[in-house]
Symmetry: C2
Subunit: 344 residues, 2 copies
């Protein structure tokens, strides 16, 4: 972080917004009017508009002790774009609101926005509006992502068919193990502030937590390969929780296979250091931001062209329930153990 | 408030969302897909999409000691719709995110949503998505309002012309005086909890603060009367602050007249009880959610048909500055004294 410290009060709300948005250049033809008016204006020129929003709170969704503000800005955008891709749509704009206490300097907020703009740049979206307000305590982020989709090409969670293959992109569980590492290092630091954390070996899992990416590439691959998923969602709460949502909304059951779950070698090694089961992390970890989707069996051959896609099971009739078969051959009911911030 | 208290943890995040959204019926043809997927889908069928967002925080934007939750839900929606109308657009959907600490029961959150749905009903908009999360402390609200406008009929702040008339809807300053009353009653209550507040006489100003309305009627009138404002915005920070924005963005100056400012009799009487100047309240009060717009002088005759519209001045060239002429005939520079949450 920069050495300088400018108080937000020196700029005021309008000065801060001006400072944070002065370099915006709208990239999308659909962004007709951006920051600086009562509202922004979009023209998707015959396409349908897809919109999603998230509220992220300090102490609940992120810990600034180990989350660099630039990463936080980047991630805040990416997790919303992930929702747009999960509809089989292309994100085009975001609105970004932040609540900031006077604990944060202008430089700190600027750093956060550097991450926001880096994500906008990478995914080709425009920041077209938002709100900036003082908070009494803590940092709050609300992001609304807007995208477009060719009429009626959006993919819901509720339209999977019996017999469809269950697919996931990338690998699962690493972000959760990254969180365990960072929580452990935080505890060590609080007990002995002199000790420098060594996370070099864990850069993969820590990176998965702090700087996730949305699977634009998978949506593009599916489009190029002419595979239309029958249902799709992103994995934010953990595969087990999310497949249960998909099955419930499609009124189906499923059979997954432990041996098919995509687990990165780095995650497996890291999980062993905590003496926890990599499979449990892959099933219940959360914050993967991978895509969970179902395709017709007829598309199986095409899927094999992309090594970033794993077929982890198939859908059954609802009455058969939702199960996973372990490597040892036994069958377990899948239970939702995703993150629940209201759990005691 | 209801006597029952159900802890949010009993329902969990998904149970709470289900409870709060189970009765939604989408009213607009443009709302293709609502709550329950990764994102919502809208088709404005050739119209342009207008979008605005606000972040409202307990202790900064509202005080739950004197703000009923149902009113808060209503107001949260209305202030966003006001931004959409201020673009000369029609709101069609909202996304509502709330951060809630376990201080709030399911019943309390339900009450908040009753207000949200009441506003949706009144203004004909659909709740199509959002986010619900635990907060460590306090109540946070993020609303995104979405609307539609006939291509290129949206009205910006930056397009006013020299000589245009400056108009405002309704009356100004009452919400601010309402706030003064509520703050005074809160202080009295904290010092002597037995004393019942008597706000009967102040119901107008208190109502203006707690339950504002968006000026849908004015937008409809302007459309019916074929008056196209040359610039428009809503008055949220106070007329003086907001006219300065409009002038700056249109690169013009203005001359306003104190005697033309619309001041309700109830506000004038209430202001005198606090020994404050009604004109100062009208200029700097904030939270009016009236429309500030400019029209060509040729439209003056048509405007007189609507007694809810006051012509308060006209636009000058930028070099002439931004002034108000008092009833006594003297000329003062307009200064922004709107609310600035970062001010010490």
């Amino acid at each position: 972080m920069s050495q300088e410290r400018t108080e937000i009060g020196q700029l005021g709300e309008f000065g801060l917004i001006e400072h944070l948005t002065k370099n915006i250049e709208l990239k999308n033809a659909s962004s007709l009017l951006g920051v600086g008016d009562d509202a922004a204006v979009i023209d998707h020129f015959g396409k349908q508009t897809v919109v999603s929003t998230d509220l992220l709170l300090e102490g609940v969704h992120f810990d600034l002790m180990y989350t660099p503000l630039k990463h936080l800005g980047y991630k805040s955008v990416v997790v919303n774009l992930s929702d747009i891709y999960a509809m089989n749509a292309t994100p085009t704009q975001i609105l970004m609101s932040v609540g900031i206490s006077n604990r944060f300097s202008v430089e700190a907020v600027t750093e956060f926005y550097e991450g926001v703009y880096a994500a906008c740049e990478k995914y080709g979206v425009d920041l077209i509006g938002g709100d900036t307000t003082a908070s009494q305590k803590g940092f709050m982020i609300s992001v609304t992502a807007i995208g477009e989709v060719t009429p009626d090409k959006f993919v819901k969670r509720s339209t999977a068919q019996k017999g469809d293959l269950v697919c996931v992109s990338g690998d699962l569980g690493a972000a959760y193990v990254g969180l365990l590492f960072l929580e452990r290092e935080k505890k060590i630091f609080l007990e002995a502030p002199g000790v420098q954390p060594d996370l070099e070996e864990e850069s993969y899992v820590v990176g998965r937590l702090l700087k996730p990416e949305a699977r634009k590439d998978i949506i593009e691959f599916l489009d190029d390969a002419e595979i239309r998923p029958t249902a799709m969602m992103d994995i934010s709460d953990g595969l087990s929780s999310d497949i249960l949502h998909l099955c419930k909304q499609s009124n189906l059951g499923c059979m997954l296979y432990e041996e098919k779950l995509p687990i990165a070698e780095a995650m497996r090694n890291a999980a062993f250091k905590f003496e926890i089961d990599p499979t449990a992390c892959a099933l219940s970890g959360g914050e993967d931001y991978e895509l969970l989707f179902t395709v017709s069996q007829a598309d199986y051959e095409k899927l094999t062209l992309n090594e970033q896609i794993s077929v982890v099971g198939y859908l059954t009739e609802s009455e058969a329930g939702t199960h996973i078969q372990t490597k040892g051959g036994s069958k377990h009911a899948i239970t939702a153990q995703g993150w629940n911030h209201y759990k005691k």
